[in-house]
Amino acid sequence: MALRKSWAPSRRELLSSFAAAPAVALGASTPPSAPVAIARCTSYGEDQAALLRGMFDKIGGLGAIVRGKTVTVKLNLTGSPALRFQGKPLGSTHYSHPAQIGALVRLLGDAGARRIRLVESGYGTAGPLEEYMLDSGWNVRAIKNAAPNVEFANTNALTVKGRYARRKVPGNPLVFPSYMLHPAYEETDVMVSMAKLKDHATCGVTLAMKNMFGITPASIYGDDAGADEPNENPTKGRVDTCHFGKRQPARIAEAEVDSQSSREPGFRMPRITAELVAARPIDISIIDGIETMAGGEGPWIRDHWRGALRAVKPGIMVVGTNPVCTDTVATALMGYDPRAPRGQGAFRECDNTLLLAEQMGIGAADLKQIEVRGVRMEELLFRFTA
């Protein structure tokens, strides 16, 4: 059977699969579902606060979720800020966009968040996140001043006083039984994953869930992590430990459940992603597809089956409270079948993270079970395949 290069539904199929179904009370074995808001936005010059506020209002409002809470916002700052795609600003290709971060911080402040902590594990560094952002060309002071009690944490190492927090993977773990994380993720009442709408060389797509892979500290899961103790000055990524399983994390963390399991990144990374989201649940997913890149998750991707990288402007925003539902809608908007099995569509060389997360009971990956609010999906469809 020939593989489908991409999900290329007819208009009838599209309308049928996009047909909004109201969120229903699901049985115990049915994964949970939550509404997803989608909107058109063609430029970061548009009022991002108004855009996000309107989208949050469509899914029940922000205040009820964040008032009086510590809100942790996991940004997507993948790869070194020195690496630019065609010289473009990072926020226009593979990073979260600073204008949107500033707008979100302001909204969280307005909605009564007690503390807002922006986090990311900066590539190959344990230096302050603020400096990583400055290296990205961002106005950190403006972001910090957008609301009271804004903090920054580079979660690549133990950059604050305290201890790493162990987060157990509920149910049956797939790769690791638990994850040792920066304390910021433990001190979190509301977890926000602020992702970019992108293809991903290893996982097919990278959205709100895959963004959470970045919460693993390189001090423990990095290629230069200590064998026993964390390396608090990591300078490398996590490819050997996570993608290829060539080594185990520093012993402070639990080793793999099955060291004989497949070492193939397309097997491991979707599983690690899904179980990380199970271990550290996401409360709000924000996916920025206003401007992004297609063909891979960053400028370092080469020789991929998708072909050359492209800077694209899908003009899409997706917001939801259930990360699986939100990612499912986003995947469909990219022109991919969210339920495609391994070998098909976006998941040609990997397992489907959405289906794995659904099997773990995190959320529904079926468009028929997800209520989409805002504009009609077919109006926003942007095919990522060239």
Partner: protein, 466 residues
Amino acid sequence: MVRAIGLYLTLVVPVMAGATGWIPARWYSNDPSTLELVRATPVNCLVLESSLWSRAFGEQAAAMGVSVLGVVKPGDELADLTTRSAAAKLQGIVFEGVFPKELLERTTAMLRDSRLTVVELGPRTRMTLNSPGDIVATNQGVWPGINIADDGSAKSAPSGAPWIDTNTGFLRFVRSALPAGSQSQIWIGYAPPPKQVIPVNRYLQAIADAELLGAHWLITLDADLSKRLMAREEKAVDTWKKMTGLLGYFQSPGPWRNATAYGGLALVQDIESGGLYSGGILDMISVKHTPVRAVPRRNLSDGEMKQVRMAVNVDPALLDDAQKEVLRRFTRGGGTLLTAPPGWKFPPQREDQITLDKEDVKILDQIWREVNSMTGRHNLGARLFNVASVLSYLSSSDDGKRISLQLVNYSDYEIENVTVHLLGKWKSVKVRGPGKEDRSLPVFETDDGTGVELDRLGVTAVLVAE
């Protein structure tokens, strides 16, 4: 009245600049009409291959205040050089390449007797840094810019910044190795890579790479551009105007001109310990924007180390007892000193070599990691952010009341939002860029002093803090 006449002469009669004031360019025609291209530009010294020497051209150039130098190469006939130079109205001779030393000395002496300027444009290892003439020059330079891989992408590690090919590390060393107070000008020759279309920005970067350190690139155009420029094609003339415009910016009066290198990191290095290489330790440190000054061992003194907080001694074995004692006092005073791995020495530099071999790069990489670990996040004069494609040079006025931070952007696009944290409290910071008025930047307090944000950086700009 005398003053009025003097002014008149300045305005009307072209005055030929002395050799230390020359801004050189290779020229590709002896048609006197092409001299119009240099009129009202900073370029005032044209360098011609021997086949182009011409009395008519020389006379016209002299009438415009433009000096003409002739190039001779190994194997050229040198016997009647003085006569031929006079016939072509040359102001000097450029010896380009490797000549037998004795022959060169003899010919040079003869030319100097005839009041002709001599420029030795040879290997770096033959530069006379201890007793330089008006011009100290080399024809060995790397073509500056971001290193591009075969597939057109910038060469870099998955995590790292793009590697910038530059001569600035070498030029830093040369500047520091010249005798104190020397007025000698540094010229460096490098040519655009053949069979490539060279965008105008690459030419601007080539100019800026030398001018950042107060040196001059012997402007060399690619075959296509030189042909089109001599034919005065509109687009080629446009490119030339941009180039000379940038040169004009660098020659304009400013506090950074002739200022001394400033920064809390000193690299004790000499010719024997790799000072003449490109891609060496100075370049590696520069890429991290750590303000560093090269200190040849003969300059090692307590005074030289006064502002220094950290130092790297590349080859401890080269130091005499007095020099070692300076470093001992430096460390006793709280300074941090890093030395190269025991037993390791820089490989002797061949005449045809300007970059290091792969094996040596590996060892240098170890040293660089140590340096990087030592400097860490310390502010040794200035910390810069969002500058992966930028090189910088921090200098200070003699009284230390003003510092200048020059920036050169090697990418082909403008950079937005560069942040600079200057060490110490500075009341005002102004930015100047080519074709732009000085502009004050709002300053803000940082942990280590004073912060400023530069909204856009084209090819170059300078920040001046007071």
